[in-house]
């Protein structure tokens, strides 16, 4: 298959206009010695052959839509209303570029503005940007903001922060002289006594993940007091669906709220593309990374939207920019925008409520089985950790044979938790499916 439209006649006419003997001659600037030989790739194929070959590959995967999945750990299976896919697959959104020419991009710009507004509503923050790559890189950029703004060197995070997020933060900060302090958990949540001892006048920020990687809900307001008492910034990394019931970062006075927006209408898609959301208190907005859309007027006084506050960005400030981000996750932000508009004020609450009720039902079922006990008594949202009598990796393998994608074994992230796995239940699971899961588990 080829997508270039030229006929031989077209090419001949074009070359005549250019005054070149052949299209190959246009590459004369590339020295002979640097020309590549024939590309060592197979010949092109037709659309029909492509479909067959991709379907063959796809068939080697077991998708969660054929299995009953209880996997979470930073990526969550939620119901995605059909309207989300229908809207984001429209070519007018899908095949547009970053809205540099605002007058020809009002659809994208207004959608970004609405997305920013929805994220602010949900998180209780003042200002949000147009998106970051994912939850982990959004957190890393939040840490960078805090270090630059405070001029301090210490970054404090909990053991219960998503292990991959911890790694990403460290990677991003590898060019900076910062010191990381990990606070252990006490019963699944921040050990506040240790935290209180560690936070000092050189602490740039304290990170709280809520709910944390163990699914537990943190006492964010108490962490906030400890953090702000020493003038450090509080960074909250939150699950957006949980905000249908849980206290918002704005309500516990976080300075920066970030998170993984995937639960808001974005398919699991083996880890990406996802959506990093990023919101701040107004006083931090000029240090925020990424694009921002704002309202303005046109020559006739009519409302319109443009990219604004661009003096922070790389195309203007180059090495002095607040971040290097250029392409973001625009289409995923649109998905979140359509999702939140579609479920709306009631739907976000009901979805969150169903997550709580169903995960608690599952917890009760599992606790009744012998060989399983709860890792923590802390309150949770839609995910909890159990200790198993057997190696969870073995249990998972066995469950797969019954069409169940069991929980997430935690030993690979925490060597001390080899007998633990986290189990996630969202609104997508029925009582019958949970009963089946418990029944198969009971044989272990």
């Amino acid at each position: 298959m080829k997508y270039s439209p030229h006929t031989d006649k077209d090419k001949k006419e074009m070359l005549a206009t250019i005054g070149a003997p052949s299209a190959e001659s246009l590459f004369e600037a590339i020295p002979e010695g640097l020309r590549a030989g024939k590309l060592d790739l197979p010949e092109g194929i037709s659309e029909l052959e492509l479909k067959k070959s991709i379907n063959d590959k796809a068939d080697k995967n077991y998708s969660t839509n054929k299995l009953i999945s209880f996997l979470g750990g930073g990526a969550y299976e939620h119901h995605i209303p059909q309207v989300v896919e229908s809207i984001i697959s429209r070519g007018e959104f899908l095949t547009a570029y970053t809205p540099y020419q605002a007058e020809a991009s009002q659809g994208t710009l207004q959608a970004i503005y609405e997305y920013q507004s929805l994220i602010c509503e949900l998180t209780g923050m003042d200002v949000a940007n147009a998106s970051m790559y994912d939850g982990a890189s959004a957190l890393a950029e939040a840490v960078l903001l805090a270090v630059r703004e405070t001029g301090r060197k210490r970054v404090i995070f909990p053991e219960s922060l998503h292990p991959e997020y911890r790694q990403v933060v460290r990677t991003y900060m590898s060019g900076y002289k910062v010191e990381f302090t990990e606070i252990p958990h006490a019963g699944g949540v921040y050990d506040e006594a240790v935290l209180e001892k560690e936070v000092d006048g050189d602490t740039a920020c304290v990170i709280v993940q809520n709910p944390n990687f163990f699914g537990c809900i943190e006492h964010a307001d108490r962490i906030e007091s400890i953090c702000h008492a020493k003038g450090a910034l509080l960074i909250a990394s939150v699950n957006p669906i949980s905000l249908g019931v849980l206290r918002s970062p704005g309500e516990y006075n976080a300075d920066i709220a970030v998170g993984e927006g995937q639960p808001l209408g974005i398919p699991l898609c083996y880890g990406g593309p996802y959506l990093g959301f990023f919101a701040v208190k107004e006083k931090h907005m000029r240090r925020m990374p990424g694009r921002v859309a704002g309202v303005t007027k046109d020559m006739d006084g009519k409302r319109g939207f443009v990219l604004t506050m661009q003096a922070r960005e790389q195309h203007i400030r180059r090495e002095k920019a607040t971040s290097n981000i250029c392409s973001n996750e625009g289409l995923m932000a649109l998905a979140a925008c359509v999702y939140l508009s579609s479920v709306g004020r009631e739907g976000i609450k009901e979805t969150a409520r169903q997550n709580v009720m169903k995960s608690h039902y599952m917890k009760e079922k599992i606790l009744k089985l012998s060989g399983f006990e709860l890792f923590s008594d802390a309150p949770f949202f839609n995910e909890f950790v159990v200790r198993c009598g057997k190696d969870p990796e073995k249990i998972i393998g066995d469950l797969l044979k019954h069409g169940i994608m069991g929980g997430l074994p935690l030993g690979r992230f925490y060597p001390g938790m080899k007998n633990c796995m986290s189990i996630c239940v969202t609104e997508t699971k029925s009582k019958a499916e949970m009963d089946k899961f418990a029944e198969v588990l009971s044989k272990h």
Binding site: Y3, S4, P5, K11, M14, I18, I30, P31, L39, D40, N61, S63, N65, P81, G91, F93, T95, P99, A104, S105, A111, S117, V127, A128, A136, S137, L144, Y172, S174, I217, D221, V245, L246, R247, E251, C269, G272, P273, D298, G304, V306, Q310, A311, Q314, R317, R318, E319, S323, I325, C326, S327, G330, L331, V338, S342, G344, E346, G347, I348, H360
Partner: protein, 487 residues
């Protein structure tokens, strides 16, 4: 057609719903019994209250306010706005890809891992590199990954070094990525033709130079003929050479960065490899390296072990993780489909036709607009300057806005920074001669209008959903979100 669409918050009404969930089939409880009240939200989020049709109509109308590749020619320089094949969208949305959880056991995602592995292999062959990571989510993310690799490499030799050399014609992401990684940026001047001045380069390269970031072809659309000499100068000082692959659409199948002396390169799957830009993203910015640097790539890596594909997170030298999970796999699937569809020869033909299209536009426009540089055929793009139109009181911005009236998106403007009143045009290979001709005729018409009726340009656009927007007002009176009345 002048339209203003209300905000989603301005439509609907209290209590209206546009979603459905199954009835709760487990025992309901008082929320406070399960989660203490002090952890619960106090004030509700004021989300919209609309029906499904309200929602569909709102966003469909918004979509109609956009220009896009599916509806308009988009000659944005350095952005490679080629056609985004529909079949690739369909393939990436198959449930056996779209519904895969990133923590599924490897045994249950063999097809996915195989596809990622093959994509890496194809990119290695196209770029002449020894290893690739698919994790970076965009070009700038790839640059950051590259800079982290540079830092890790030099650190392993005992000194991370201090400086990154970047031409003054580079994309803004280059200096920003270097700075993000803790490096000091040293700009090197370009010569009259926008190429690297070798003497200027020699005078700034020393033992504290960590890497030079180079875009080839340059942002002026010209191949850096002295790239081997540049590589020698840089390598002699023990530094590395990095390719910003934004302009790979001029090279695929013709010349390989690895053969030119680059140690690291990133490619943009959302440019050269046809995945859609989505109004700003998602992109994907895989990074390739030579064998000497492969241990520094981010983890996890896709590998083969006992005939199975695995994700290997073990590497003592790795820079670490640059994001959660494994990359924008949904985007990577589309790029894989593209490379498979075109095949080796097809990819090369696409490059040749992209360059043919750019030279055709350049040949037809040069009598009407001044070229920034004209010493030879251009590669996949070229740069005009609007400075000779300033005499009529018309700026490049006005030319850009006037093009919108004729249904063309505008070229990239005011970039590269080294060209006054720059107009950077990249047609890509998927545009037909008819479209190019019609664009040329419009550009000529606009040039004539600039002379005869400049007011038409300075007050443009006239036929877009809104007229020229006041960016100064937006920056002065910041309104970055809707607020509920009374809040």
């Amino acid at each position: 057609m002048l339209k203003v669409e209300k905000l989603i918050f301005e439509i609907g009404s209290a209590g209206r719903r546009g979603y459905s969930l199954p009835k709760l089939d487990v025992p309901d409880a008082d929320m406070k019994e399960l989660i203490p009240e002090d952890l619960l939200r106090k004030s509700e989020a004021a989300l919209p209250e609309v029906s499904e049709l309200d929602c569909v109509r709102h966003f469909t109308r918004l979509s109609q306010l956009n220009y896009s590749v599916d509806t308009n020619f988009y000659p944005l320089g350095s952005c490679t706005m080629k056609y985004n094949p529909k079949i690739n969208e369909k393939m990436a949305s198959l449930p056996q890809f779209a519904d895969l959880h990133p923590y599924q056991p490897e045994s249950s995602v063999q097809g996915m891992l195989e596809l990622l592995y093959e994509t890496e292999q194809m990119l290695c062959k196209i770029c002449g590199m020894d290893a690739f990571t698919l994790q970076p989510a965009a070009g700038a993310h790839g640059e950051l990954t590259g800079m982290l690799i540079v830092r890790a490499y030099h650190t392993s030799k005992g000194n991370p070094r201090k400086k990154v050399i970047i031409p003054d014609s580079a994309h803004g992401t280059n200096p920003a990525s270097a700075a993000l990684c803790g490096y000091e940026v040293v700009a090197v001047k370009s010569d009259r033709n926008g190429r690297i001045d070798l003497d200027a380069l020699k005078s700034v390269v020393d033992g504290e130079t960590a890497v030079m970031m180079l875009t080839n072809p340059s942002t002026l659309g010209l191949f850096e003929k002295n790239v081997r000499q540049i590589a020698d100068i840089v390598h002699k000082a023990g530094a590395l050479l990095y390719l910003d692959g934004a302009n790979m659409n001029a090279l695929v199948g013709i010349a390989r960065p690895g053969d030119m002396g680059f140690d690291i390169c990133h490619v943009n799957l959302h440019k050269s490899f046809s995945t859609p830009h989505g109004g700003g993203g998602p992109g994907s910015g895989p990074v390739g390296v030579t064998a000497a640097l492969s241990d520094y790539l981010p983890v996890p890596r896709v590998k083969i072990k006992r005939n199975r594909f695995i994700l290997d997170a073990e590497s003592k030298k790795s820079v670490g993780r640059v994001r959660a999970f494994y990359g924008n796999t949904g985007v990577i699937i589309k790029a894989y489909c593209y490379m498979k569809s075109l095949g080796g020869d097809g990819l090369k033909d696409a490059t040749i036709e992209a360059v043919l299209n750019a030279n055709y536009l350049k040949a037809r426009l040069k009598g009407h607009y001044a070229l920034a540089v004209d010493d030879e055929p251009c590669m996949h793009e070229f740069v005009l300057t609007g400075k000779d139109k300033k005499g009529f009181g018309v700026k490049t911005l006005d030319i850009a806005k006037r093009l919108l009236d004729y249904g063309f998106y505008a070229p990239t403007i005011y970039f590269p920074l080294i060209v006054e009143e720059a107009i950077m045009i990249e047609p890509t290979e998927t545009e037909s001669k008819d479209t190019l001709d019609s664009f040329v005729e419009t550009m000529i018409k606009v040039a004539n209008e600039a002379r005869s009726e400049p007011g038409l340009l300075t007050s443009a656009p006239h036929s877009t959903p809104v007229r020229r927007l006041d960016e100064v007002l937006a920056a002065r009176e910041l309104n970055l979100r809707w607020k509920r009345p009374g809040a």
